[in-house]
């Protein structure tokens, strides 16, 4: 089948990232409290100043899952969750905090796994303000049903997921790691 629609959806960048899985340690995530971006060399633990948080997200329609862990340093830590246990949007660290470490583990389709890999490359080492801007732009693009042209300057490789927005059933796949990232940012 000559299949341009499939090639639009599964851009080479996506297929490559689905295989390389950047930021996913080969042996899975280390014990909680360490991030595992640099296996065995993680300056984590009490007193290191790194605030480590984690989020586990499952796509219930297909069982895809991502566990994502970040280590944030500097800035002001996020506030406590708002009433009802739902974190307020202001509860994430201040924009000058830096995502110093980033690691994930997961099992799922090429879209969700590639998305986690691209997310890692996009936000690892960035400050929270930059990461938040990319996250918001990515989400807006994916919800657009193909009507928004990707902003490659903001998104970088993440722009390759523009084709996914035309497949409503797959938007969740692409969003899964980003939702985990947002939850990790907002976690205590």
């Amino acid at each position: 089948m000559t299949n341009s629609a499939m090639q639009q959806l599964y851009q080479q960048i996506i297929l490559d990232h689905a295989k390389s899985r950047n930021g996913a340690p080969a042996g899975g995530l280390p014990p909680l409290g360490e991030v595992g971006t640099v296996p065995g060399a993680s300056p984590t633990g009490a007193g290191s100043g790194l605030r480590v948080t984690e989020s586990h997200q499952v796509n219930t329609t297909c069982g895809d899952e991502v566990t994502l862990r970040i280590g944030v340093r500097g800035g002001e830590a996020g506030g406590p969750p708002a009433s009802g246990g739902v974190p307020a949007s202001g509860a994430e660290p201040t924009g000058d905090a830096v995502i110093e470490e980033f690691a994930w583990a997961g099992d799922g389709c090429s879209i969700s796994m590639a998305s986690a890999s691209v997310l890692h490359d996009t936000v690892w080492g960035e400050d929270v303000a930059t990461a938040r801007a990319v996250l918001n732009t990515f989400r807006e693009m994916l919800r657009s049903r193909g009507t928004i042209e990707p902003d490659e300057e903001v998104l970088g490789d993440a722009a390759a997921f523009a084709g996914v927005s035309r497949y409503p059933a797959r938007v969740k796949c692409a969003m899964l790691p980003w939702v985990a990232f947002e939850a990790a940012l907002l976690a205590e």
Partner: protein, 438 residues
């Protein structure tokens, strides 16, 4: 259709021919459409089947001419509606070798299983009086399921065990997707009160040896509930000949509408069971503190019933009966073998369940090395091919077989051999597209 599934009926049945299938397809307007520029190739009947015109017409005719609440009202329409509704019950009962009063309408098979579980739960609380004591469960009692159950035939029993203190045990599945009967003989014992087992697996396609399992249960005085969701639509099933105590199935998997399912229960058991859902239409006399309940099946049919759906399901049963369940079974057995033989030719495909040559219903689930099921499904959908991807509501079975998700192609009486072949040809393109080397 009074014989249960036996080797003789299998051998004797003449499969539907390709010409007959082509004629059958004329009765299913939904099949005649393009999806993503390709003729729809619907291989997801295991999830839900399509409706023939006669089923949709039965529902429309009811609403155009006879719509009224059943079992109440003293007007002509209400009488007519009640008569049609009860005739539908008799039709469905005859289809599975049951008496009409042994057929309880439910919303779906899931509700049927929950009905039994909650009735037992209520009996465990002392409801239903001395007669219901036989259904009461407590610490030391065991409920036995299998490792291949759909979540619908697992979670209600997990919950019942949690509510009553009973223990849930399971019969393991072997590598080839069949039940370990030797283990079953050790698990089903004096403490076993209920065995809940699927007739045909919605994932691996195996047809379980119901007679052997029932014999094990009978030897210890345990009740048997059969999940017949994947058997009643596809094979001749006679619940009396199988000697199961309960059976459940869903209308939408057998050419009927959604929102209607059946719980079969032996009359003498239903008679002693306390109700699950309560309210109107299931009582005789009511005061402010107590109520007396109707005899089955009405005892288990609280509130306004799924009238048009029941009538449409009876039309679906008529369609299946006219076509011939034995011939449908023989046809799907051929398609099932064609599927697994074709899958065996495709590099990287690992079939879940028994290999070619072993009996199976007309479906096949598989893993494609290096490509996630969701991506397989996406590629096939682009070619107009509808399959199921994911865990098919059977996570424990997938875990047992060492995969988190699989792709399933499932056939029905309207599936052509050409559709199976086109599916196989397209599937062969998937691994190369994703850059997976075999």
């Amino acid at each position: 259709m009074t014989s249960s599934v036996s080797p003789s009926t299998r051998a004797n049945a003449r499969p539907l021919t390709d010409e007959e299938v082509d004629r059958i397809r004329n009765d299913f307007p939904i099949l005649d459409q393009l999806v993503n520029g390709h003729p729809l190739n619907y291989l997801d009947s295991g999830a839900t089947s399509q409706n023939p015109l006669s089923v949709m017409e039965a529902e429309q005719e009811f609403y155009e001419q006879r719509n009224a609440a059943v079992h109440r009202g003293a007007h002509t329409l209400a009488f007519g509606a009640t008569e049609t509704f009860e005739a539908a019950r008799a039709t469905v009962a005859a289809f599975i070798g049951a008496q009409a009063d042994e057929v309880v309408w439910t919303s779906n098979a899931t509700e049927g299983i929950n009905l039994v579980a909650y009735s037992f739960s209520n009996a465990s609380l002392g409801l239903g009086g001395p007669a219901a004591k036989r259904f009461a469960l407590g610490a030391g009692d065991e409920i036995v399921v299998t490792e291949m159950e759909h979540h619908a035939n697992l979670i209600p029993w997990q919950q019942l065990a949690l509510r009553t203190g009973a223990t849930l045990r399971f019969i393991p599945v072997r590598d080839d997707g069949t039940l370990d009967l030797a283990a079953a003989a050790g698990i089903i014992g004096a403490r076993t009160r209920l065995l809940a087992v699927t007739h045909a697996s919605n994932v691996v396609g195996t047809i379980n040896p119901v007679a052997e399992l029932v014999a094990l249960a009978r030897a210890v005085g345990a009740l048997v509930l059969l999940d017949a969701c994947q058997s009643v639509p596809h094979l001749p099933v006679d619940v009396a000949a199988l000697d199961v105590d309960f059976a459940v199935f869903s209308g939408h998997k057998m050419l009927g509408p959604t929102g209607i399912g059946v719980l079969y229960g032996k009359a003498e058991l239903l008679a002693d069971m306390p109700p699950f859902l309560t309210g109107g239409s299931m009582i005789t006399t009511v005061d402010m503190h107590t109520a007396e309940f109707l005899a089955p099946p009405q005892r288990f049919e609280a509130g306004t019933q799924r009238i048009s759906q029941a009538i449409a399901l009876a039309a679906a049963v008529d369609y299946l009966t006219e076509t011939g369940m034995d011939r449908i079974m023989a046809r799907e057995a051929e398609l099932g073998q064609r599927l697994v033989e074709g899958l065996a030719e495709i590099p990287g495909v690992r079939l879940l369940g028994p290999p070619a040559g072993v009996e199976r219903i007309g479906l096949a689930s598989f893993d494609l090395a290096g490509v996630h099921a969701h991506d397989v499904g996406q590629y096939l959908d682009e070619a107009g091919i509808a399959v199921r991807v994911g865990h098919h509501c059977a996570q424990p079975l997938h875990r047992r077989l060492g995969v988190t998700a699989s792709t399933r192609a499932s056939t029905y009486l309207y599936t052509t051999t050409d559709e199976v072949d086109r599916f196989l040809a397209t599937l062969a393109e998937v691994a190369p597209f994703f850059g997976v080397k075999s």
